[in-house]
């Protein structure tokens, strides 16, 4: 516990005239749930996309699990051990739930074209292991009974869970969730919360972007606040809640 898993320093990103991220540095420790909050347009998702290689950054470095992270390609980021979900759910809509999770195993398996064509013993063993692991993960997130349904046929809450299962299939060290509670009703949010707590119990580190302040404050060990692309606070939830700069960012200067 308390070893540093991810250390970002001086991350900058500009879209044309908009400075989306300005010199953002943050440290995520192993085994914690790290919250990232901020008003709309503060740069949370942009930071996420930089961390997972989907956007090229303008400057800054990321150390992950003791090595410099290659941010140039998303698949290398996944291989290094960062998995993510998307704010607007991005599943493989016309694949079954099970297949979706099986795709997540891609990065940890190796069978190529020739072993698939020849159906070698190694390939069959690997396929069986992929399937077994995918079934386990569907069970873990609680949608094992929907394994053979197409992803698009699942309910909204189940789709969120499926996305988490697919991310978990890559054996991540850090699971990055982009607004997992968005659009969920109270029951679904409660269930999601216990799922994330379960992930922490199982030793996973979680990076969480969330609008639901109650969820963040109740769940996270530490919280960072972004405003106009800059980090204005990073501390335990109680301290962040009391931070005048945070109150100002959310409610305007007069409230602070």
């Amino acid at each position: 516990m308390n070893t540093v898993l991810l250390e970002a320093s001086g991350i900058g990103k500009r879209f044309g005239g908009v400075q989306a991220l300005k010199d953002v540095s943050l440290t995520i420790k192993s085994g914690e749930i790290y919250g990232l909050i901020g008003p709309n347009g503060a740069g949370k998702t942009t930071l996420f996309n930089v961390f997972t290689g989907l956007y090229p950054r303008d400057c800054g470095e990321v150390q992950f699990a003791g090595a410099a992270l290659d941010l140039a390609s998303p698949h290398a980021v996944a291989a290094a051990g960062i998995a993510r979900t998307f704010q607007n759910i991005r599943l493989f809509a016309n694949m079954t739930a099970l297949e979706n999770v099986m795709v997540g195993r891609h990065v940890r398996t190796r069978a190529g074209v020739f072993s698939a064509i020849l159906r070698t013993r190694a390939e069959r063993t690997e396929e069986a292991a992929i399937r077994r692991r995918a079934e386990e993960l569907l069970h873990y997130v609680g949608i094992a009974d929907r394994a053979d349904d197409l992803a698009r046929q699942l309910s909204y809450g189940d789709q969120r869970r499926l996305e988490i299962a697919r991310a978990l299939a890559t054996d991540p060290k850090l699971l990055a969730l982009d607004e997992p509670a968005a659009g969920m009703n109270a029951t679904e949010t409660t269930a999601l919360r216990s799922l994330i707590e379960g992930l922490r119990r199982d030793g996973l580190t979680v990076l969480l972007i969330e609008h639901d302040v109650k969820l963040v404050m109740g769940l996270c060990d530490r919280v960072a606040v972004l405003d106009y692309g800059e980090k204005i606070a990073e501390d335990v939830p109680e301290a962040v809640r009391a931070n005048p700069k945070v109150i100002e960012a959310y409610l305007g200067a007069s409230a602070a």
Binding site: G53, P74, A93, N94, V103
Partner: protein, 351 residues
């Protein structure tokens, strides 16, 4: 994966029918065996294109280029043009490899393109290959230009010559019949390969890219390599089909590899049902045979009815093609025999 007795019986029945088929066709004329052979060639092409379009979702309008590459590789290595006469089992793998390399060369610059843009670039590539074949006759005469290359060697296995007839007992094994059996074997292999790829790690990665490329990348798929693999695999099948085309035809020229052929193969894939191997086979068979049937029926029917030929069968062919595609798109947008997931998608939408 166990089969019921009924399945086994059905399979045996199909096998017997396929083995007996050429002799039945031959009794109606050897032309029909040839037509069947070309239909099987088109099935092979469609299955190759299905990997690129059906599985990986990359719209390729220049697929005939790989067919052309395979055909020319065969023609150059087994004809008097260069005086080379390598055996077919050496040339076919070479043709597949060269086509595969061509597939990667085409694929590499198009990796960032999707949909319409990809279609336009691949269309251009197909034309470039054809124009190359047309013009590479000087300063060094590589392809013999628009005149094409003729007197291409037929397949030869030991004493068995695929261009001559052999009689065993009362059965006459004509050249086309021998090619038919060979094509059947290749087709069987290609179907097995397709099915195995579909149910594999690579096959899932292809479909994942088709479904959502960004999610696929974030899930750890190296989309660049996996897409190139789709192009390469599809092209290899095209190359093999091209080699066999050259041998069966005995002659190749750039004329055989026009844009129309690419569109035809794509139509077969789309009509049958993108992504579903059996659908694609059905589509290819249908679009290969219907024009031939028209050719043999339209003329006599018109002569009997009007006493003269009013509509050329070749014109009708395109009409039927167009009508078939329009009707398919209107009534069965996922194809006649869609992939299970597409079918479920459609039925769900209707519900």
């Amino acid at each position: 994966m166990s089969m019921s007795a009924r399945d086994k019986f059905g399979l045996a029945l199909i096998a017997v029918a396929l083995i007996a088929l050429p002799f039945v066709l031959a009794s109606a004329g050897t032309a029909w065996v040839r037509i069947t052979n070309f239909a099987v060639l088109f099935v092979l092409l469609s299955l190759g294109l299905n990997i690129v379009v059906g599985f990986a979702g990359l719209l390729d309008l220049g697929y005939v280029a790989f067919f052309a590459v395979g055909a020319y590789v065969y023609a150059l290595l087994a004809s008097p043009h260069f005086g080379l006469h390598l055996p077919f089992w050496v040339i076919l793998p070479i043709g597949a490899t060269v086509a595969c390399v061509a597939g990667v060369i085409l694929g590499a610059p198009t990796l960032r393109l999707r949909g319409d843009y990809l279609a336009i670039v691949t269309l251009g590539f197909g034309e470039i290959v054809r124009i190359f074949m047309n013009n590479l006759s000087s300063p060094v005469n590589l392809t013999n230009g628009p005149k094409g290359i003729n007197r291409i060697d037929p397949f030869q296995i030991g004493p068995l010559n695929f261009s001559a007839s052999d009689t065993i007992g009362t059965l006459v094994f004509s050249g086309p019949i021998k090619y038919y059996y060979f094509l059947l074997l290749v087709l069987l292999a290609v179907i097995v390969i397709n099915r195995r790829l579909q149910d594999s790690r690579i096959g899932r990665a292809w479909v994942a890219i088709r479904e959502d490329e960004i999610a696929a990348r974030a899930s750890g798929i190296n989309t660049r390599n996996i897409k190139l693999l789709a192009f390469a695999m599809g092209a290899s099948f095209g190359g093999i089909a091209g080699g066999m085309f050259a041998a069966i035809q005995g002659f190749v020229s750039p004329e055989s590899f026009v844009l129309n052929e690419s569109i035809m193969v794509l139509a077969m894939v789309v009509l049958g049902g993108m992504g579903n191997i059996w659908g694609v086979i059905a589509g290819a068979m249908l679009l290969s045979f219907v024009p031939e049937l028209l050719r043999y029926t339209v003329e006599p029917v018109q002569r009997a009815l009007f006493g003269k030929l009013l509509v050329d069968p070749e014109v009708l062919r395109m009409l039927v093609f167009g009508a078939a595609l329009v009707l398919t798109m209107r009534f069965r947008p996922a194809g006649l025999w869609p992939e299970t997931r597409h079918r479920r998608e459609m039925s769900e939408n209707r519900a």
